[in-house]
Amino acid sequence: MKTLRILGLCLVFAGLYACGEADEPAGPPDTLQRGLPTDAETLDHHKARSLQAADVLRDLGEGLVGYSATGELIPAAAESWEVSDDGLRYTFHLRDGLRWSNGDPVVADHFVAGMRRLVDPETAAVYVDLLSGIENAAAISAGDIPVSMLGVEAPDDRTLVIRLAQPAPYFINLLSNPSTFPIHPPSIAEHGDRFARPGRLVSNGAYKLAAWVPGSLIALTRNEHYWNNAATAIDAVNYHVLVQDTAELNRYRAGELHITSTVPPDAFAQVRNQYGNELHVSPQLNIYYYGFNLTKPPFKDNLALRQALSMAVDREELVEDVVGRGEPPAYSWVPPGINNYDPPRLSFSSLSKNDREQRARHLYRQAGYSEDNPLRVQIRFNTNATHKKVAVAIQSMWLDVLGVEAELINEESQVWLANMREAEVTQVFRASWVGDYNDAHTFLSILQSGNGMNMPRYENEDYDELMELAAAQSDPKQRRLLLEEAERKMLSDHPVIPLYFYVSKHLVKPEIEGWGDNVLDYHYSQHLSFKAAGGD
């Protein structure tokens, strides 16, 4: 009787164990192991919205244009293109020999189909308004007219014509975004919405999808049919989902990862000392800012107050002592490094600290506040160690310099988002914005009136007008001047307090070659390779 029971237990165990050994493939020995800070929520490039998904999608698929390892725009699926004089008509010539991972040829029609699917309201794509500049796109997305009316055509298999409603000098950048990638119609026909799964996904980029274990691993292998396959050095790439940055660091140190997605803030100094040249820090198109709710007091119509608060922040101290990972302080809205653009700086950025603080106090009093009548204000931020540190620092800076009594309110992400959007209870809120492409427009556009991402609810007719003029301007030099003027104007209104610009931090093993730091933080696996063995 007893032996029976022990046997039974052993059987149960064997069963349980067997029950799941069909696990993740480890990949061939020279597989590139990369870290991913959170899982890709989907590999359908129209439904994707996270940066992580975009990273993986860039390895899987290919758009008309792409970026080099150093962040320059380069031709990808399209080998050349022309723009009409009025800036409304783009003609792309696709390369010869483009193929999907199952061998099917990639034709211009696939790009048409892809863009149609993007703007189709039924798809409910997140980046639906990315291509809103295309003729009829807005109406289609609103559901007024059918998708077939989109201003994109494929006169033949290797030619693609895109017509814009208005000239948009930055438009070409948009075509590197994965949501503009082509689709494979037979896959959609067969699997409908669920084509983006291992065993089904057909891709046109350097890699194809080998396996996807949700929450754990995305495994890619070489797409032999890729037109540039000969230039792809690495056979297989494994993206490991590692939510905890310390866990990722440990894996790197144990030699199980070649590239990390980030470096834990608390370990930064130590990592810098220990790994010196394996650490890659690079400015990003990403700004960390505090926004004002301009629809309500105390910040509505109170420019002096806003300016005072912005001036009372010591940005240098913030980035050196509080955040301390090489982030540059932000005195503009658009980050440095954007193509063809020199961001203007806040008027007070040249003042000494004392002068700046004195002036701030003056403005504060002008705004109607004083030591006896201090401003009481709430700062909201989403739960995160860094955000908390920053908030505490700013709270104390405002108290020291102006006597402002700030209350810190720490909210769960969704709550913080909802509050920001509704703009009912917010006063000062922490936020950030990542640029979608390498052009100032991606930053300046969100502060236009009515833009969904305009969290402060900034409304300035002059600003809007300048932005529109710039959009219509095809001469890059003229356009640049208009944009810079717009930014100058906006900065002087102080709708936001720019604090610092993010930097990307990666640890990259010395045996990896081809890594390029760039402001977009795009690192295509096809540009990377392993150093030849034997070389030191």
Binding site: E41, A142, V213, Q414, G452
Partner: protein, 307 residues
């Protein structure tokens, strides 16, 4: 016995329904939704999505729809992982969590009961104090401290074991996660066993067994072990629950694609269907476990057998 089991299973259904209803309410009560995120969707798109997933319907209607889907075995599509259905995600992750959890519990039972028994037999000795001290530490140090320390030592410094789940296939990657998960349980079970064993060893029938000249090992094995196990058995229900939920931290640290981390991600993404699906899975598991514990209780203690 059969009748009892069937009755218990039937009785579990209303409990399950209550759990689902509560979870449903809570998940929808939290501000935000599955499709709100930093990149604000244009209004018409947001409407479209909500319509597609029927989030614009009144709550009671959504609930009824969900439950009727449940009855047919359909847990719905995931709102977060939009390429997958909830049951696929659970089927992918649950066996993994279960396996690690089962190994952890088994390890905890074996080591914990052995340690507790030894401590009880040598009550008051240095061995007893050592075992109890060790278990106290095991209980006090949280998982998210233990795990990284173990990883640093065994993976980073010594390279004996992989630092993460996806670094290798095979048995070695189980070692650290299972140990991390088992540690607090070992500690608790050791304490429980020790106390229970001390109590049982003081009972009359153990004295009889000793008087029968059976020898300590036989006395423990044949006579004392069974009743001493009972409190541990009662603890097993909550213990397994703790292991399965505590696995979130372990899963995140080791990068294991388990149900715990899926749950947490689902909750913060407001992935309603996924969260509900996992809640149902957990609830069913715990109810089943409690039933098994009760049955085992009846096997060990014949006096409670014929209810």
């Amino acid at each position: 016995m059969l009748r009892y089991t069937l009755l218990r299973i039937l009785g579990a259904i209303p409990t399950l329904l209550l759990v689902i209803a509560l979870a449903f309410l809570m998940v929808h009560a939290a501000p935000g939704g599955p499709f709100s995120n930093e990149r604000v969707l244009p209004e018409h798109v947001e409407e479209k999505i909500e319509k597609k997933y029927r989030l614009d319907e009144p709550l009671p209607k959504q609930f009824i729809r969900y439950v009727s889907g449940l009855v047919q075995g359909d847990l719905g599509p995931s709102y977060g992982y939009r390429d997958y259905d909830v049951d696929e995600l659970i089927a992918e992750t649950f066996p993994r969590s279960l396996r690690i959890g089962a190994l952890a519990i088994t390890l905890a039972l074996l080591l914990g009961m052995a340690a507790g028994t030894v401590a009880a037999l040598r009550q008051g000795s240095w061995l007893d104090k050592f075992v109890m001290g060790f278990s106290m530490t095991g209980l006090s140090i949280p998982v998210f401290v233990v795990a990284p320390v173990l990883v640093l030592l065994f993976a980073v410094k010594l390279h004996w074991l992989p630092a993460g789940w996806t670094s290798q296939t095979g048995i070695s990657r189980y070692v650290l996660p299972v140990i991390t998960l088992a540690l607090p349980q070992i500690a608790y079970i050791a304490r429980l066993t020790r106390a229970s064993m001390i109590d049982v060893l003081g009972r009359d029938f153990v004295r009889t067994a000793r008087a029968q000249g059976l020898g300590t090992a036989t006395v423990v094995r044949v006579h004392a072990l069974r009743p001493a196990m009972l409190p541990v058995l009662s603890y097993l229900g909550p213990a397994v629950a703790a292991v399965l939920t505590g696995s979130v931290v372990v899963e995140e640290i080791f990068g294991i694609s388990g149900m715990g981390q899926l749950f947490v991600r689902g909750a913060s993404n407001r992935d309603y269907t996924l969260v509900l699906g996992i809640v149902i899975t957990y609830a069913t598991l715990i109810i089943a476990l409690n039933l098994i514990v009760d049955i085992l209780y009846g096997i060990i203690d014949p006096r409670v057998r014929y209810r």
